[in-house]
Symmetry: C2
Amino acid sequence: MGDYKDDLATRGLDAFAPYLMNRIMRRYNQTLQSRMADYDLSAPKMRALASLAVRDGLTVNELAVYSMAEQPTMSRTLDQLERDGFITRTVSKTDSRVRHCSLTDAGREMYQLTWPEMDAAERAMFEGVSDEDRAHLLATLRRMLENIKQNDF
Amino acid sequence: MGDYKDDLATRGLDAFAPYLMNRIMRRYNQTLQSRMADYDLSAPKMRALASLAVRDGLTVNELAVYSMAEQPTMSRTLDQLERDGFITRTVSKTDSRVRHCSLTDAGREMYQLTWPEMDAAERAMFEGVSDEDRAHLLATLRRMLENIKQNDF
């Protein structure tokens, strides 16, 4: 694999993590996006529902980061999710400018309906990868996110 | 970290590889894109130059895949790179519909000028990650790409 100090031309694309990760995520995102069309869910909608299933009460800022969306896009997405009856928003008790989002029962059902698609797409990625190698990968990825993220969360 | 059969709400986002990888790559791509603006290079241009530095003679189809761009975008990108004097294109000897791309001296210089930026952005991602963990990550990523890629290359 060569020294990490080598330039790309010597190392080859397959030894450059950003290239591999970009290609994997592009394929994963495209696959999932086409499956979510059956549920009439955009990628930001799907990600917002999934994030709220994990953590209740997230704000638009937090959801934008977790869902890899620009803030205005997430704002519109939350408007639509509220109109669709999938989320409710309540004003923060400590800061009246902030609203916390929660899944409704219908929102939770939609998440439960779509989670198997995310799960299947992830499994396809990890076919033939041992649980140990997968845990190792996750640990390194968490460290990498810590290294480069700009938000506290 | 819980069983991989658990649903997302139980596992948490930090145990879901696509979430971590999407967040890391979004940040990496944004950082690099803003640095490439100094060189007047778009992401597809930068990636096409880097891919050609690694492998001479790639076609528009191959460059689209390697650069994570739609084929029409890559077509336009190559027109611009040719106009800028960074690449040349020659008709394939075996198939007159196919053209192979090569870096000019100016193209190679531009790649050599911009590679340190890519290198620095990748290093920032891997800060505090051992060479062993990094090699382990790369091996798993290569397997994942093999699992889900739809092209032969």
